[in-house]
């Protein structure tokens, strides 16, 4: 399995998600955590960009971070929801890990 990337910044505040999408290899997995979960939502300025990215990457989002922020009901269809155990599984099943800090 290729690399697992995490993005923890809101796409409305920082360019972290853009950099990850630009430099992650197609076919790798991107997990949105912490403020990064705002990128997973329907009806925003970046929704189309994420839907496009879903053609090239497996996109996952950390459910407890969605719930904490009150946005768990707005996730773009097709984005995979994982809990912390799922996060661990993703790290274990990919060959390498990169946190986009």
């Amino acid at each position: 399995m290729p690399m697992l990337h995490t993005v923890n910044k809101s796409p409305f505040e920082r360019n972290t998600l853009d950099s990850c999408l630009r430099l992650a290899k197609k076919g790798s997995t991107i997990l949105l955590i912490e403020d990064g979960v705002y990128a997973a939502l329907e009806g925003t300025r970046v929704s189309d960009r994420i839907r496009q990215a879903m053609q090239e990457f497996r996109i996952c989002v950390l459910e407890p971070d969605l719930e904490a922020r009150g946005v768990a009901d707005r996730v773009i269809e097709g984005i995979e929801r994982v809990d912390y155990g799922g996060f661990v599984d993703l790290v274990a099943e990919h060959d390498a890990f990169q946190a986009w800090l």
């Binding site: 690399m3 950099s19 430099l23």
Partner: protein, 122 residues
């Protein structure tokens, strides 16, 4: 320790001085040099500003650590990569940088990242 040599990549994405990440990332790299692993440094996004020539920190009374990048060669750290897109987006060219680097396209950098065992991003 023994065993195989791992490929370590240090990804620098933040500008110097505004936060401490650039300086403390450099401190990690200097220690890493002693471990006989395969080390490469990447500068993308605002990280490219770490390598800008002519840094003068007298006025802010903060240690200017930019000369350390020139000393890396002495630690056998010779693989420094800069993303062309990041340079261009900031109106910089290779001549603006204080140390020789290899400028890579996003495409080339993507391939290089994929080959790493351990990636530390600062």
């Amino acid at each position: 320790m023994g065993g195989k040599v791992k490929r370590f990549m240090y990804v620098n994405r933040k500008a110097p001085y505004g936060t401490i990440y650039a300086l403390e990332a450099l401190e990690v790299v200097l220690i890493a040099a002693a471990f006989d692993q395969d080390v490469s440094l990447v500068f993308v996004d605002d990280g490219v500003y770490q390598l800008k020539k002519g840094q003068n920190t007298k006025g802010i009374d903060v240690k200017n650590f930019s000369p350390t990048y020139r000393a890396l060669e002495g630690y056998d750290i010779e693989k420094l990569y800069v993303e062309r897109e990041s340079l261009e987006a900031r109106g910089l060219t290779e001549e603006d940088l204080l140390v020789p680097v290899e400028v890579l396209s996003s495409e080339e950098l993507r391939e290089l990242m994929e080959q790493q065992d351990v990636v530390l991003s600062f």
